[in-house]
Symmetry: C2
Subunit: 188 residues, 2 copies
DNA sequence: CCTTTTGGCTAATATCATTAGCCTTAAGTT
DNA sequence: AACTTAAGGCTAATGATATTAGCCAAAAGG
């Protein structure tokens, strides 16, 4: 494993514990037992480059996880599995999730490229459901909106009662997918 | 209008244009034509206090807007109107929206208090629909997850094609509310 | 044995946020 | 009118952090 990758791994551990916004050159260096300037030997772009690398790692992990989750499932079950997989990733890697959802550079080319990979897994499930191109996009956005929104809100403690979060999520996924499939009844 | 309020107004204008994360003592002072230390005459707590004040303003505005949106409407229509109102707020005040959704202090007492006000408007509509207590909570969380998630993703440019965002949102709201009402058919 | 790459270090600079302490002006008070 | 106080601003100083420049040791490879 390259030193660069070692550093990214440590950063991921850190942000999952302390939050993405608390990541700094100073704390990374401390955690690694080196002095701040040494980090620039690996990331000339400084903190920005490190954060970017974390996002790339994040997108790739999510891509893999979502793709795997739908293997062997079809239609609603596949969609549902993907929703659960995404939320599960958010729980496993809250910091990484925060990074890729809300700290996207508004104009990053790289992110666009990588996002396409993730989207493609979702698209292929949607293909099997006979949606039109336009509807596929609406479905995709709706699911992303719900799952990413719900996950981020729960990770931030924005829902009062922590107890029944799993049921709330299950309820929401069911409702959304029910509504989506219902709109499709008289089509394909 | 007190000087304090004037400053908050300017900050809101700034974050709606530049994003919440770019708000700094330096830029606020520049924008006001004063020197950075002068700001501490109005906000002894520094940047943190200013950001907190912005969130309070934000919660109050949203509360009002959502409550108004549902006046004279009932059942699905009321729910739908609230979803649209929340997204509309996000478009009108992207920076404020960002602040209150994703930069909540995890443990702020104040926020909890204020959030309750907002939630109460939503709850009263849900009451009219005959949901059980538990289901009301699930519905509320699902709607918040979807609307806040969708809005934040679109504001960040995370959905490729900007053109059809309105339709995608309408599609998602319909699907979700359809699913919610369907689960309710054989109840009350 | 020489050379290059890797990974680290110290010292110096720039940018902010924040604190301390001073000053002016306008509003009240006696 | 003279005094006092509060508002709102300023300069100078401190402290944290990111970043740059330039030096150094040790390992890898010829």
């Amino acid at each position: 494993m390259t030193r660069k990758q070692e550093i990214i791994d440590v950063c991921i551990e850190m942000i999952d514990k302390e939050g993405f916004l608390n990541l700094s050159i100073k704390t990374i260096a401390e955690r690694l037992g080196i002095k701040p300037p040494s980090l620039y030997k690996h990331f000339q772009g400084g903190l920005d480059e490190i954060k970017e690398a974390i996002k790339v790692y994040g997108w790739n992990s999510i891509d893999i996880k979502i793709a795997k989750s739908a293997v062997g499932k079809s239609r609603e079950d596949g969609l549902k599995a993907m929703c659960y997989a995404l939320r599960e990733f958010a729980h496993e890697h809250p910091g990484v999730f925060e990074a890729i959802c809300w700290h996207n550079s508004y104009t990053s080319e790289l992110n666009h490229e990588i996002t396409k990979g993730v989207i493609s897994s979702l698209y292929s499930i949607l293909d099997s459901l006979g949606f039109s191109e336009a509807v596929k996009m609406h479905v995709l956005r709706s699911l992303r909106g719900f799952v990413e929104g719900f996950s981020m809100l729960e990770l931030h403690g924005s829902f009062g009662d922590e107890i029944t979060l799993d049921e709330s999520f299950a309820y929401g996924v069911d409702a959304l997918i029910t509504g989506i499939m219902k709109g499709q009844e008289n089509v394909g």
